[in-house]
């Protein structure tokens, strides 16, 4: 009898391990399809956790306008989603202090989607049909945004959202991305980097790619599936740079040694890490341990804090849309808002308490919502959508934005290149956005 029991348990455990392994470690998020340990108790479809931001002001009056959204308050995406939560709370406080929206206070109904796309979709269904919120805002994470967008489209809601990476997939005419990557970041982002490298006068002759299998980084590296558009790899080849390494790694990588050894073996002048979260710190540490460091490195979407805390990460480049230094901080209002968000991030215990891409994109999405309602003069979803398409938006961190319907409401890629120099992130390219006395530092063999 005993072996049969053991078989049962072994099979059960194997199944459990396979399922968890399949969804594990996806710190960049978006592709998981199963809720995880920390979040089961707060399933949004069964009542969910719900927080409501402050609503009372002296100037605003009447029934509150209820803005519904989800964020990954738990799960793989929670680290970054915390930034969006703090930013949203600051925005709601600020708009209420300024008299509310259409003269009414704003209430944010926030649910936990547990970093899981199907829960995000269910939560938006609930927000629209049961909670009957007036407006909706996108969640955080490519997979969650994509899932929520389908619900928004079904009910005809205007759908501002922030950092979703599969731009080509978003064809809903009332979706508005606040992440200024343009419709073709697989072309524009790498070329911005390559231009930055060429601006030094000593561009690399060889380049290596290590690519997280996360859909967004695959898109950036290789382009839209089933098309010949290409991405970062093809664009490098067009410049005549020899691609000496092109390897894909799983999102749940725990042993970085073999990948580091492969990079050392290829020895590229420049290493393009199409990764996110803590991929770069982990890989750099593994490379340091085998006494190897490329002459230059770029990481697509890193967690900014851990990169700074990593030995050997000085000179690492990435993309940004806002950093807290001139010329971005030439606008006093940007300084004021950034200061408020910084303070709130610090209070929330977020280790890297500075406004950069995530907070800036989040703030901008809220601005879309506010301006659409005010511009349309009502909460009519189609009117808001039409108003945004016709008028664009005036944003604090991006300036004036015009949406191009023929480009799926995307606008130009406003990304900049930032680099770790002297232990801090500084924008270094294009030159007009570079921090004072900062420029791209790269020298093959140097």
């Amino acid at each position: 009898m005993r072996p049969r029991r053991s078989w049962t348990y072994l099979t059960l455990i194997t199944a459990l391990a396979l399922v968890i392994a399949a969804c594990g470690g996806d710190e960049g998020g978006g592709t998981t399809t199963l809720g995880t340990g920390t979040t089961v108790a707060s399933s949004t479809t069964q009542g969910g956790t719900e927080t409501t931001a402050a609503t009372e002001t002296t100037a605003a009056s009447g029934e509150p306008i209820r803005v519904g959204s989800t964020l990954a308050l738990t799960g793989f995406l929670a680290a970054t989603a915390a930034i969006h939560k703090v930013t949203g709370e600051v925005f709601v406080d600020r708009i209420n202090a300024a008299g509310g929206l259409l003269g009414r206070p704003v209430e944010w109904v926030l649910l936990d989607d547990e970093s899981t796309p199907d829960l995000a979709a269910a939560a938006y269904e609930r927000l629209i049909t049961e909670d009957e919120v007036d407006l909706i805002l996108g969640p955080y994470g490519t997979g969650n945004i994509t899932a929520a967008m389908a619900v928004a489209q079904r009910y005809g809601y205007a759908f501002p959202h922030h950092t979703a990476s599969l731009t080509y997939a978003y064809t809903y005419e009332c979706q508005f991305s606040s992440w200024s990557t343009g419709l073709h970041p697989n072309i524009t982002n790498p070329n911005l980097l390559y231009d930055a490298l060429e601006s030094t006068g000593t561009p690399p002759e060889t380049i290596g790619f290590v690519v997280n299998e996360f859909p967004g980084t695959m898109f950036i590296s290789y382009g839209q599936p089933d098309t010949d558009e290409g991405g970062a790899v093809a664009e490098a080849e067009k410049r005549g740079w020899e691609v000496v390494l092109d390897v894909t790694f799983p999102t749940a990588t725990s042993d970085w040694g073999p990948l580091a050894a492969q990079v050392r073996d290829a020895d590229p002048d420049f290493l393009y890490i199409a990764g996110l979260g803590v991929d770069a710190p982990n890989l750099v540490t593994a490379m340091q341990a085998i006494d190897y460091s490329p002459d230059g490195m770029f990481v697509q979407w890193p967690a900014p804090g851990p990169v700074l805390a990593t030995e050997g990460a000085d000179g690492m480049m990435s993309v940004t849309i806002f950093e807290e230094h001139p010329p971005f901080t030439d606008d006093p209002e940007a300084v004021e808002v950034a200061g408020m968000i910084d303070a709130a991030l610090t209070e929330a215990g977020v280790p890297y308490a500075k406004v950069e891409t995530q907070a800036a994109a989040s703030w901008t999405a809220w601005e879309y919502l506010q301006q659409a309602a005010e511009g349309a003069g009502s909460l009519d979803q189609q009117a808001m959508c039409d108003w945004l398409v016709e008028n664009g938006a005036q944003t604090l961190f991006h300036g004036d934005i015009e949406f191009f319907p023929e480009e799926q409401n995307y606008f130009e890629d406003l990304s900049k290149i930032k680099q770790v120099q002297d232990g801090e992130w500084y924008t270094v390219y294009p030159e007009e956005f570079a921090a004072p006395d900062r420029s791209v530092e790269f020298s093959p063999g140097g």
Partner: protein, 290 residues
Amino acid sequence: MELLAQGIVSGILVGGLYALMSIGISLSWGALKIINLAHFSFILLSAYIVYQLTVSFEVDPLLMVLVVAPLFFMLGVLVQMFFHLAKVDEFKSLIVTFGLFIIFQSVMQTIWSADFRRIGPVLNPYETQSFFVAGIAFQLPQLVAFVVALLIAGGMWLTFTRTYFGKAVRAVAQDPEMARAFGIDSRRVAVILSGLSTAFSALAGVFIAIGQTMFPQLAVAWFGIVFPIVILGGLGNSLGTLTAGVIIGVAAGVSSVLWGPLSAPLVTFTILIVALLFRPEGLITKRSIA
């Protein structure tokens, strides 16, 4: 060739860390019939405590072994006492310890937030230290973890085969009622073994804190590594667990350098499934206590 050699060496060394993470679960499952999913949380909790103490008091993270090992031994004792009180059997343990796993994960997220935590290079010089033999890097933290795993696996093997306590553990593992009839205090044996298993998880946590960036969901990724090793090694077999850790580590390392990192999980689970088909009792059964 150097690339392949590096893949093998890295695989062997990281296999030691994997084994260190797995030995506690293997002992708990094999001897106590407790499939302790909370073990994964214990590893991460230990890592977070090491992180916190290191950055707060600016002390050597390796010295934190002296703090977390006894602390987690006590935690293991308390957890096992709870299992006795709640009369948790093998099947219930899956549900109960999964609940504990969720609770500990939530506690860690509440205390340290969902953000990434890493001990900086000033306080943690070990993470990038290596020595080289013929151009092959031996990473110091992984090497130390391997040595610790070897000592624990060997020590437990000697304990189970050469000591009265070891015989008592094996007796309790095979038939607790009969062991009690022969005067063995099976509860006491179970409590000590649970303490040891949890202390081993704390040791693994020290090396996680030294070598990796931590975040609450990190523990979830370990399920797919640890369970194949536990099953492959044979329940309650510490030397088998170490062997399995090295096999999985080398297989993943070599497949990574030959066919890319995406092949590593495929190879790992292929080995597991083949093992389940042909040797469900584990690779090494001679000294297993299960």
